[in-house]
Amino acid sequence: MSDWIAIGALAAVGVLIPLGMMSVSALLRPSVPETGKSTTYESGETPTGGTRIRFNIQYYMVALLFVVFDIETVLLFPWAVIYRPAIAAGVPMIDLLWPMLAFVGILAIGLVWAWRSGAISWARSPRATSRKTERDLN
């Protein structure tokens, strides 16, 4: 009995349920078009400018770091699986531990570098820092 048939079956059911809800809703719901109803929501104001704008680079920095660490976790999983059985089979602990420590250590150095260069502390834009609040003015 294949596990993947069951997983595929749940994937099919999982897509069919939202599709079913959408179809039922399409049968039930009214359509009352009015001018201005479909305007982009900007807290009741008329929308200004486009949405696809240049954006805070910080999100990109975090994403770059993530790729490195995510691949690390993928590579560590096999090690975690065999660790205890290997110890039980009589492999000395230090032989199992040092490759992992070296691997994590290299990434830790990378993290320290990212930390010191400020990649993981949220940068404030000059505009945000220069903005005066009412309290500052008093």
Binding site: M1, S2, D3, I5, A6, I7, A9, L10, A11, A12, V13, G14, V15, I17, P18, M21, M22, S25, A26, L28, R29, P30, S31, V32, S38, T39, T40, Y41, E42, T51, F55, N56, Q58, Y59, V62, A63, F66, F69, D70, T73, L76, F77, A80, V81, I82, Y83, R84, P85, I87, A88, L96, L97, V104, A108, L111, W115, I120, S121, W122, R124
Partner: protein, 357 residues
């Protein structure tokens, strides 16, 4: 490890009804999947329109939904019909079909995570669809598809609030995914397998006996530090307080779901609840002994429900009690605090397991 696990749900159906061949397997799997999906839908249906309001009301000393039916329970079908019958407003400039796929992807991916979760037994029926060898890695993979859906919704909505919400969701999931998985890895070191039944089986041994009670070796008792780390990262992963900045209603309206209405909005709402329950299910599998509990094996479904709803209650408690963190605090807690702590936990666990084994 432990006793042989009970038959999986589709196998049970094949054997009971004598379904032949591959077609029989597919039919049995579809029936099993429909049952599992309906259990999750029932959870979310009770949680969304009813339990969440009742719990919030209890925390804030108010009275909630008590007009329709006993304890206001009939608000559930009423809300379902009402929400589905709402007009769908498609805003200007949305990027279709991305805008339409996102609300399908979120509940579907969260539901898919339940395919490998053992939900315990009702009588001889073991509600567990599949048990592949890579189960634990698979369930994390399924759970993290949700952030793709959130960024799709955020980008396709052509709304600045949505864009902010989508990007925040990604930044948050990226920051907490690694502590979550590395902490789970410390459990894998104990269990020595990624197969969910193996992870659960490793927790059936007795840790200690206190006053005649056998305390099972749940990893929450074996390694409470990892449990707390995992619980925190899990809250961030499912985007609940104090880590709810992707929606942050008081800052960015509704985040990625600002421009959604009607069934599309319901699907996001549903997906979030399924995701909370998936978070609870993963927590119970990895740290709370799966569906096990006192009493016979045949009622263990009750324990699964108790654990998953316990986690749901916890998220609602956190929602009522803990203020939201800012994005800069979120990144610092994730990358400077939790990441370092989770690796420290991994190395320490490896050393301790190596010494005692």
């Amino acid at each position: 490890m432990g006793t042989a696990p009970a038959q999986l749900f589709p196998e049970f159906l094949v054997d009971t009804f004598g379904l032949p061949g591959v077609l029989g397997e597919v039919v049995a799997s579809l029936i099993g999947a429909a049952v599992v999906a309906n259990i999750i839908l029932a959870f979310s249906g009770v949680a969304g329109p009813w339990a969440k309001r009742k719990i919030t009301a209890a925390f804030t000393d108010r009275i909630a939904v008590d007009r329709i039916g006993p304890f206001g329970l009939l608000i559930i079908p009423a809300s379902a019909v009402q929400l589905l019958a709402k007009e769908l407003i498609i805003p200007e400039g949305v990027d279709r079909p991305t805008w339409d796929i996102a609300p399908i992807l979120l509940p579907a991916s969260a539901m898919l995570g339940f395919s490998v979760i053992p939900m315990g037994q009702i009588g001889p029926l073991n509600i567990h669809l599949a048990d592949p060898e890579v189960g634990l890695a698979l369930v994390f993979a399924f759970a993290s598809i949700a952030s793709v859906s959130l960024v799709m919704a955020g980008y396709a909505s052509n709304n600045k609030y949505s864009l902010l919400g989508g990007l925040r969701a990604v930044a948050q999931n990226l920051a907490y995914e690694i502590p979550l998985i590395v902490t789970a890895m410390s459990v894998v070191i104990f269990a020595g397998t990624l197969q969910i039944s193996g992870v659960v089986g490793a927790q059936t041994e007795t840790l200690a006996t206190v006053a005649g009670f056998d305390i099972p070796a749940w990893f929450a008792f074996v390694n409470p530090f990892a449990f707390v780390l995992f619980l925190t990262a899990n809250l961030a992963e499912i985007g609940r307080n104090p880590f709810d900045i992707p929606e942050a209603p008081t800052e960015i309206v509704g985040g990625y779901q600002t421009e959604y209405s009607s069934a599309y909005f319901v699907l996001f709402y549903l997906g979030e609840f399924v995701h909370i329950f998936l978070g609870g299910a993963i927590l119970s599998v990895v740290f709370l002994g799966g569906a096990s509990g006192p009493g016979p094996e045949s009622i263990s479904f009750i324990w699964f429900v108790v654990k998953v709803w316990g986690f749901f209650l916890f998220t609602q408690w956190a929602r009522a009690a803990i203020p939201r963190v800012r994005i800069d605090q979120l990144i610092e807690i994730g990358w400077k605090g939790m990441l370092v702590l989770s690796f420290a936990n991994l190395v320490l666990t490896a050393v301790i397991v190596g010494v005692i084994a």
